[in-house]
Symmetry: C2
Subunit: 128 residues, 2 copies
Amino acid sequence: MAKQADSKTRSVRGSRTGRPIMVLLDLLGRRWTLRILWELREEPLTSRALRTACDEASPTVLQARLTELREAGFVELGDGGGYGLTALGRELCETFMPLHRFAERWKSSPSPRLRGEGRGEGESPRKR
Amino acid sequence: MAKQADSKTRSVRGSRTGRPIMVLLDLLGRRWTLRILWELREEPLTSRALRTACDEASPTVLQARLTELREAGFVELGDGGGYGLTALGRELCETFMPLHRFAERWKSSPSPRLRGEGRGEGESPRKR
DNA sequence: CAGTACGCTACACTATTTGTAGCAATACGC
DNA sequence: GCGTATTGCTACAAATAGTGTAGCGTACTG
């Protein structure tokens, strides 16, 4: 099925429009992708070190994500071994920096507790 | 689905540390999560409209993501029906705005073409 | 040569996502 | 009231993606 086209063109599920933001959103919305970028933000890591940093995620996915990220031009395999962000990848990562501050704020905010309001009225959350 | 604890506490795969950034990264690194936030950035949408906006994604995942996002306090179900971002969700979405610009720049940059450099092999293709 | 670390792959198993169908509750027109 | 349309939401089998463990081939070091 010729699954690999140019990583910017291939129409995976979640982005059939071809709009770059959608393709990017789809790429980043895969398991471990954001985490990998995050772990690589400071310094390059060897594949093994990256695996450790990512809570021992299975090498299968890591390898898959790393390949996608390399195709996208965000990550590269340094000649001495070890993965690092490209200039582009570093830019992308910068974009997520505010996320860290946001996460800190988020964890300390009160849990909204998901009320079944709207129209279910009263207090019957799941009765159907 | 009794497996839901507080969305900030539950230790899903990908975030066993409990560090908020990890939890957030894990939550956002699920399929459709980023897309949903993106589609909701302008105005609230009904579940059906959201589904249409997301290339007819299956209601199952959408519903799951929407619930997670509601538990996290990023999205809420308006009283008139229709999902919208909360103040917190809007903040989070702001964080991603630079992503749009980045995506545009990205699509027009040259494809790096993922060479199999690094170690020995000069041009052996990664066919499998 | 043995010992180690590297990038990467195989493969069986499990979890998540997809796609299609459909339900209950509300809102409108008649 | 009765149809009809829309809403949020769920069931469930099939497909896909991710997990976990093992191991390969290639450098390095001693």
